[in-house]
Point group: C2
Chain length 151, copies 2
């Protein structure tokens, strides 16, 4: 694991009890997409598949982690909040799962960082997906995050 990935995982597990309960791990970050993972067992529902709230939580954390890593990379501090999210649950998840977050079409992490530096406030739209083992998505997530620079 790279240092930023290890640092993000440590931060999420230290600060967010629900991330510990979900047994979240940060898998990878390539500068554009961030992958988080969780085992099924602590995230199961009454039907034996993944609980919608666990998928929502992991996608929210992946979406939040993307601007966080971009700011860490340039040494900027900010509070990042989720503003809104829309989730579509397309298929049940019967296995350990991962979520992959990317910046939405038409936006960039560079533009987000520049806006935060200029104005002390910036917004970022993020898309996430929960890939199925045989292709396709078990769930999709579209969300907006806002960052406020710390003074």
């Amino acid at each position: 694991m790279s240092d930023p990935v290890m640092h993000l995982q440590r931060t999420l597990l230290a600060d967010i009890p629900l991330a510990r309960a979900m047994q979240l791990t940060v898998e990878s970050f390539d500068g554009e997409s961030l992958a988080l993972a969780a085992p099924l067992a602590p995230n199961v529902n009454d039907k034996g598949c993944a609980f919608g709230g666990s998928l929502a939580s992991l996608m929210t954390l992946a979406g939040w982690g993307l601007p966080r890593l971009a700011l860490d990379a340039v040494g900027m501090e900010a509070e990042i909040y989720v503003q809104d999210s829309t989730i579509r649950y397309l298929a049940p998840v019967w296995h350990d799962f991962r979520v992959i977050a990317r910046v939405a079409e038409g936006e960039s992490l560079a533009a987000f960082v520049a806006a935060l530096r200029d104005k002390g406030k910036a917004r970022l739209r993020v898309d996430c997906r929960v890939p199925l083992p045989d292709g396709g998505d078990a769930a999709t997530f579209e969300a907006r995050f806002v960052a406020l620079a710390k003074h």
Copy 2:
């Protein structure tokens, strides 16, 4: 607590590990609205307020509980899935919180139960809110659930 409320709480805590981790309680059900609650401590984020994923999870469970209780009341069995949800996070939550779920405008639990009985499948739109102590909402949630009768 009434029997259906006690039964729902027992079921959620028994079947969903994340509900236990969140220390969820079922507060009340009056036939139209269902209230769930959770303490802040196990649901906190890096900023010390309620984690968005915890709010999303509790609202998803409240929305799911509404058709569940309506079917329990008439002795019908069905699997209930969340199909999609949209959440708006309007204000941070710095305290223990509750969520209140209601059937969306223009729909009813009675019509939902009748549709499931007739067709073996039924949909229900649900609205939830996280009330703030001084009035207003910390978050709102609109979702669709689908129920499939068990044969």
